[in-house]
């Protein structure tokens, strides 16, 4: 990638194209790899890595690496990431050789199990050492899969984040919005796999197709780096004369983007437009204008490319990254240590709310004033990470006898909370 890819010609001559290797790690990763393999990833090398022989046997990947020692007795990691990690460390050299010659490494894995969570971060490190840029595409388990898996997944994600250049993470829980009552388990997994595959394809296309306005891999990494507490991804398509408008409407209604809320909350957004030959600048402009309006606070990176196979379709790929978690709307696992780190230096106590309400007054009056002053400034319901953080301490204030009654909200202010607290009047 650093060797400046020549847009179209380079792609036809594999010698000059960035060598991409796609690694599927763990059973879920291997399964996703198979789906990817069917797509148009000319020039990419597919490598399946797992501890479980049977899953590898079913894979269509060109290279299969089975990590096996006596330790595991052919039984896989047994859902223990530590074992996966240990075994990957043991075979570090093998992993590194597998990454040799690649400019870009995609790691595809389902976090939560033993292999995916344990091996992927080691693999990412091996790839880095082999001189490749690493981009990881991972899923987080469903909430119903249990706490332990969630924790393991979170740990795996944290480890992966510390080594990979970029992580795109899809919490499976979000796909619940896409499925209905009757969707089978198999189909559900297919949908989640599909979404992840879609994002790999989207980024693949982004990086390899003829670009009118290029997005470089560095841009992408810069966007994802340090921000990936949760990156959301959406890819939509539309045809017809009003496709520019339609595509934006679809995007805003996209379930993975929380009906457009994710856009409003994100701090950086990457937009890639892809169309046939007749992709008009006016369309590009219209789409970007609309998206820009959706995410006022975000840094926007845009790219436009021509793909003749798309004909009259317009395809828009959006990756939105949030800076730090938003306490209320993230799934509990994603509200990791980041929130505390970000909040405490500002003097806001990030401790659990107390029912009896005695905890609030123990803030010093200065702190309270600071908090309330901040709150007063951003009382408008506009979203923005700053305002949300300022709301944290208000949750501590007990509403006493009005706790359970319908709140009296006047212009966004909860009037059940004592006036002197809201106004920041210090007693003493």
């Amino acid at each position: 990638m650093k060797t400046k890819v020549q847009a179209s010609a380079a792609f036809l001559e594999p010698a000059k194209a960035p060598a991409v290797k796609i690694f599927g790690v763990g059973s879920a990763g291997v399964a996703m790899l198979d789906t990817l393999n069917g797509g148009d990833f000319a020039g990419a090398g597919f490598v399946a890595i797992n501890t479980d022989a049977s899953s590898l046997a079913a894979s269509s990947a060109a290279i299969k690496i089975q990590l096996e020692t006596k330790l595991l007795r052919g039984l896989g990691t047994g859902g223990d990431p530590e074992r996966g990690r240990a075994i990957a460390e043991e075979q570090f050299a093998t992993l590194k050789t597998a990454c040799d010659g690649a400019d870009v490494v995609f790691v595809v894995a389902g976090l939560g199990g033993g292999a995916g969570s344990g091996i992927s971060s080691v693999l990412a490190r091996a790839a880095k050492e082999a001189g490749a840029l690493v981009l990881a595409f991972v899923t987080l388990p469903f909430a119903c899969e249990g706490n332990r898996r969630q924790q393991q997944a979170q740990q795996g994600l944290d480890q992966l984040k510390s080594v990979a250049d970029g992580v795109i993470c899809l919490p499976c829980q979000k796909t619940f919005k896409l499925i209905d009552e009757n969707t089978s388990v198999l189909d559900t997994f297919r949908i989640t796999d599909g979404l992840l595959v879609e994002s790999v394809c989207g980024i693949w296309r982004l990086l390899t197709r003829k670009g009118l306005i290029r997005i470089h891999f560095d841009d992408l990494c810069a966007l994802l780096r340090d921000r990936h507490s949760e990156s959301v991804f959406a890819c939509v398509e539309a045809t017809g004369p009003a496709r520019a408008r339609e595509v934006v409407e679809k995007l805003v209604a996209h379930p993975l983007l929380d009906e457009g809320r994710a856009l409003a909350e994100s701090s950086a957004v990457l937009v890639s437009l892809m169309g046939g030959k007749e992709l008009a600048m006016a369309e590009v402009n219209r789409v970007m204008e609309q998206i820009g309006r959706q995410c006022e606070h975000a840094q926007i990176i845009m790219g436009a490319a021509v793909d003749e196979t798309l004909k009259n379709r317009l395809s828009v790929t959006v990756i939105a990254a949030k800076q730090g978690p938003v306490p209320m709307e993230l799934p509990p696992l994603a509200a990791s240590g980041d929130s505390v780190e970000q909040v405490t230096p500002r003097g806001i106590m990030a401790r659990p709310g107390s029912r009896c309400g005695s905890s609030a007054p123990s803030l010093t009056s200065e702190q309270r004033e600071q908090i309330l002053a901040k709150n007063a400034g951003t009382r408008a319901r506009k979203t923005g990470p700053k305002m949300r953080q300022a709301q944290l301490p208000l949750a501590i204030i007990s509403k006493g006898r009005f706790d359970k009654s319908e709140p009296t909200i006047h212009k966004g202010e909860d009037l059940d909370i004592p006036t002197y607290v809201r106004r920041g009047v210090a007693l003493n």
Partner: protein
């Protein structure tokens, strides 16, 4: 139903107390309060029933007490309603006068009022009052009674008070469950204003703020008609709750402190004063700073007035209140509240006095009974109208017959 008796009962199911006032209408039309029953309310929050069983018991107690005092049997009541869901707005209806001689008939008036009441409300809402304001004949303003006038186009402004059907029904159902008939439901703020304001004050323009336990209801009159109504779901309960929170005392204790030491203004001389709270054995439990207590109260009450003020500012009615502002409701008892309101609203403020009603001195002087007395007054206007005499409240149309029948 009232043919054989001239007894009118007003029932207010408030947040802090349930109160029933029995009034008797004399032959000359004057009103005499002959009975009063009240009970501490336990099943109501912010003006709305949250615990039917307890509320029912409280209502029964209040009614029984009023019956004993007045020595009558209560069968019908005028029921006061409030709550944050109640809203008021102005609407205008138009009707072309089609008769050959262009004289406006009684039918035309009825038609135009009907048109004005045809309002597009959400389905879950119901009209509580549609109060006639002024007529316009061919654009001529300020006509109070257009019958007999000549014109081709008749318009009328009405003030519509509406609320959520289900929430209104809750109170009605509860009263019906006690084998009482609800004659009509009345917005508490309207009832209070009826009890407090004289015709002259209504004509000059006045604001009535009824700060009760759970809600603050306010009504604005200009040129003799109701211009604006509003409800804020804040009241004395909030003051107590703030105190309990701020002084770290139990709610019941906060309530007592509020009554004993509360004031709407923070005086210089209270600075540094403390009260020692003792337990039942007389041992000191805690000391409370009087200044803090008053500061907390003052801020809350100040905010209530500010919110009312903002609403009126928005409605553009501030310059029409030439008779000033009248306070009632339990919070009107807070010492210094009138000066505080004057400070905030920059207008003469006085505590409301129920006038044009005679009877029990103990009932008439209390600001917290104003609403219930107003309900009786509303009832007396209604019955007077039924007897076909012209009255002040002729324009006050109860739009609730269907609502009352349904439950």
């Amino acid at each position: 139903m009232f043919d054989d008796s001239s007894i009118i009962v007003g029932l207010e199911i408030g947040t802090s107390k349930v109160c029933a006032v029995v009034g008797e209408r004399n032959a000359d039309g004057s009103l005499n309060v002959i009975g009063l029953g009240q009970a501490r309310s336990r099943g109501v929050r912010k003006g709305e029933i949250v615990d039917t069983t307890q509320a029912e018991e409280d209502v029964r107690n209040a009614i029984v007490e009023a019956e004993q005092m007045a020595d009558v049997e209560i069968r019908n009541v005028y029921l006061g309603v409030t709550g944050a869901h109640i809203r008021g707005f102005n609407n205008r209806g138009v009707h072309p006068v089609v008769s050959a001689d262009r004289e406006i008939s009684e039918d035309d008036v009825q038609d135009v009022v009907k048109n004005a009441k045809a309002i597009n409300l959400p389905t879950e809402n119901n009209v509580v009052h549609a109060i006639r304001q002024h007529f316009f004949v061919d654009g001529q303003d300020g006509v109070t009674n257009p019958v007999g006038m000549l014109g081709s186009r008749l318009e009328v402004d009405v003030h519509v008070v509406h609320g959520r059907t289900n929430r209104l029904q809750n109170a009605i159902r509860l009263v019906k469950g006690l084998q009482l008939e609800v004659d009509e439901i009345v917005f508490n703020g309207l009832a209070s204003s009826l009890a407090l304001l004289s015709n002259e004050q209504k004509e000059l323009g006045a604001l009535v703020i009824d700060i009760g336990g759970g809600t603050t209801d306010y009504v604005v009159y200009t040129n003799g008609v109701i211009r604006h109504t509003g409800v804020l779901a804040i009241g004395g309960d909030h003051v107590s709750n703030d105190l309990a929170y701020g002084l770290k005392v139990p709610l019941s204790r906060a309530e007592k402190l509020k009554l004993e030491f509360g004031s709407a203004l923070v005086d210089e001389e209270t600075k540094g004063q403390t009260i020692t709270i003792t337990n039942e054995l007389g041992l000191p439990l805690k000391t409370v700073n009087v200044e803090h207590l008053r500061r907390i109260m003052s801020l809350r009450l100040e905010e209530i007035f500010q919110l009312v003020g903002q609403d009126l500012e928005q409605a553009g009615l501030f310059n029409y209140l030439r008779a000033g502002i009248f306070l009632c409701g339990g919070c009107a008892r807070v010492p210094q509240i009138a000066p505080l309101a004057e400070q905030v609203l920059q207008m003469p403020v006085s505590l409301g006095q129920t006038n044009s009603v005679s009877g029990l001195k103990s009932a008439l002087d209390q600001p917290e009974f104003v609403t219930a007395i107003g309900l009786v007054k509303f009832g007396s206007f209604k019955t007077r109208k039924r007897e076909g005499k012209p009255s002040l409240a002729q324009g006050i149309k109860g739009a609730l017959s269907s609502l009352l029948r349904r439950s």
